[in-house]
Amino acid sequence: MKNLFKHFNDIDIDVNEFEEADVTEFEKAQFKRDLKRQVSKTKNRKWMKGVAAVCLSLGIGTASLIGLSYTTFAHDIPIVNSIIKLFSTKDKIISGYEEFADQQHLVAESNGTTITVNESLFDSKKFLVGYYIETDRDLGEHPEIETTFKVDGREHALFHTEHIIEKVGPNKYAGLTTAILNLSNQLEQANFEFHISSLSNRDTKEMVQGSWDFEIDAKATENKVQIVEAPASKKADLGIKINEVIYTPISFIVNYTETQKNEMLKEKWDVISSDLNVKDNLGNTYTSRLTGGTGNGQGFMEYVFTYEKLHPDAKTLIFTPIFKLMEAEIDENGVKWVNPDSDLKMEIIELSDIIIKIPK
C-alpha cells in the first residue's frame, strides 16, 4: 500500500514503551556501510525496477547516446545554438523538436561553474531543457548531474528524469534534461523550477557542488487529444486497449492498457512485456520511447509511449500489439534483467491490429 508509511504518521505510539539498546560504534559503521551499498543500488535502479524489462527489450536507453564524440559537437557549437538540434543528430526521436522549442537565456553561476539554459520545450507530458555548462574543473567526457524539479511548486510530480551531457570543448559541456510527468499528469502549462545541485566526473568522482536554479514557465505545444473507442485487441488472455492518443506538433503520445491474465504463460516466462508496432496508412513506421507506466501488479498495466512526429498526410494509424515472452536474468535483488544481446529464449505473440482514424 502506497500510503502505509503515511498512515504511520497518524499513529500515536508510546516511545517510552521501548528501551534503547546498546549499539557499538562498530555496529553503526557496519550498518552505514551495508546500507550505503543497498541505497546506491536502489537509487540507480529506482525507476528501472518496474520498467527495465520493457525498456531494455525495446532497445531503448541512454546508453545508445553515450558514444557521441565531442569533436563533432565542438565543431557544431559556433553554428548551432539549439542543444536539442545538437543531440537530435544522434537521437532520432527528438529530431525536429528544436523548431518548437522556446528560446531562453537564463544564467546561473555557482562555485566557479556557469550554467546557461538556452532552450526549453514542453509537450504536456515531457519537459525538455537544454543548457551549456562552463566550468573551471575537468568533468570528464560524460559528467553526471544531480537535479531536482518542482512542477507548479510541487515536488514529486515527476515520473522520471533523463540527462544527456556531452563535452563540447575544454571544460565546456552541453546538456539536455528531460523531465517526464507522472502518468496522471497532463498539463497545458506549467511552472518548472529546475534545480541543479551537483555535477561530477564519472571517472574520477570529482564533484562540483553548487546551486543553480532556473525557473521556466512553459506552455505546452498545441495538442489534440483523441479518446480512442476501439475495443481491446485480445489473444490468449493477453490484451491491449488503446485509451488515448495525444497529437502534438512534434510527436504523438499513446496511452494504452495492457492486461495479462494468462497464468500459464506467466508461470512459464520470466518477463512478459507488451509493445506496439506502429505504422500509418502510407507505410511509414514510427519508433517510440517509454514515457511512463503504472499498474496494480494484478495483470493490469497502463503505459504511455511517445512516438516520432506524425507524417502530415497520414490518415490512419495502425497499431499492431505484440507481447514478448522472455527469459530473464535475475540478479541478487530479485530484479529481472533482459539483456538484448544474450541468447535467452524469447517468443512473440502478435495480436490483431487496432486501426485508428487520425482526427483532422
Binding site: K6, H7, F8, V15, V39, H156, Q298
Partner: protein, 187 residues
C-alpha cells in the same frame, strides 16, 4: 553540508546519504530496542540485524512520506520498527510452526492465521487499502502493529465495542474481497 537535528529530515527526504548516517547514529539504539523487545524472545541470531537493516532501508525509501518534526520522526521510526519486527516475528513463527497446530484459534488469531496464508505482507496491505480510511487505520493498528483494541479505542476516541464491531465488519468485507481486486500500485 552539516547535518544536525534541525535539518536531517529535510536532507533525508532529499535523498542525501549523510542524513541516513545521522539516522543510524541517533536512532539505531531505539530501533534495535524495538526489534529486540519483539524478536528477542525467539532467540534467533541473525534476524534482528536483518530486521534493523530492513527498517533503516524502509525509512530511507519512504522518507518523503513522513511529515512532522524530530519528535514526530522518533514516533514514526518506532512505528515502522514495530511493524517490521512483527512482520519478522510472524515469518519466524511460520517457519517454526506446523499448520496442524493451528486448529483451535480465537477469532482474532484466526484472521492473523488467514493473513499468514497470504504469504506477502504487501498483499494484505493492498487489501486493507480497499477499506474506509478509519477502518484502514484500525486494521493497521490491530494487525500490522499488534495494538490491542483498548489502545486503539483510546487513540481514536471510540468505544472498544465500536472498534471490535468495525474489525468484524472489515474482516467480513475482506473475506468477500479476497478473490483479488484492482488496486493501483505505482511501478
Amino acid at each position: 553540508m552539516k547535518i544536525d537535528e534541525q535539518n536531517f529530515i529535510k536532507y533525508l527526504q532529499a535523498g542525501k546519504e549523510h542524513a541516513l548516517d545521522y539516522v543510524i547514529d541517533h536512532y539505531l539504539p531505539l530501533i534495535k530496542g524495538v526489534v529486540l523487545k519483539i524478536l528477542g524472545p525467539l532467540d534467533i541470531n541473525e534476524s534482528p540485524k536483518e530486521c534493523c537493516n530492513d527498517i533503516l532501508l524502509s525509512i530511507w525509501k519512504n522518507a518523503k512520506k513522513f511529515h512532522g518534526d524530530a519528535a514526530d520522526f522518533k514516533k514514526w521510526v518506532c512505528v515502522i520498527a514495530k511493524y517490521k519486527a512483527i512482520d519478522y516475528y510472524r515469518m519466524e513463527m511460520k517457519k517454526k510452526e506446523s499448520p496442524s497446530l493451528n486448529i483451535e484459534l480465537t477469532l482474532a488469531e484466526s484472521i492473523m492465521y488467514e493473513n499468514s496464508f497470504l504469504e506477502e505482507q504487501e498483499e494484505i496491505q493492498v487489501i486493507i487499502s480497499s477499506l474506509k480510511p478509519v477502518d484502514q487505520k484500525i486494521f493497521i493498528m490491530r494487525y500490522l502493529l499488534d495494538f490491542d483494541t483498548e489502545e486503539i479505542a483510546r487513540q481514536l476516541e471510540m468505544t472498544k465495542s465500536a472498534i471490535d464491531n468495525r474489525l468484524y465488519h472489515g474482516r467480513k468485507k475482506l473475506k468477500k474481497d479476497l478473490g483479488g481486486m484492482p488496486i493501483e500500485k505505482s511501478v
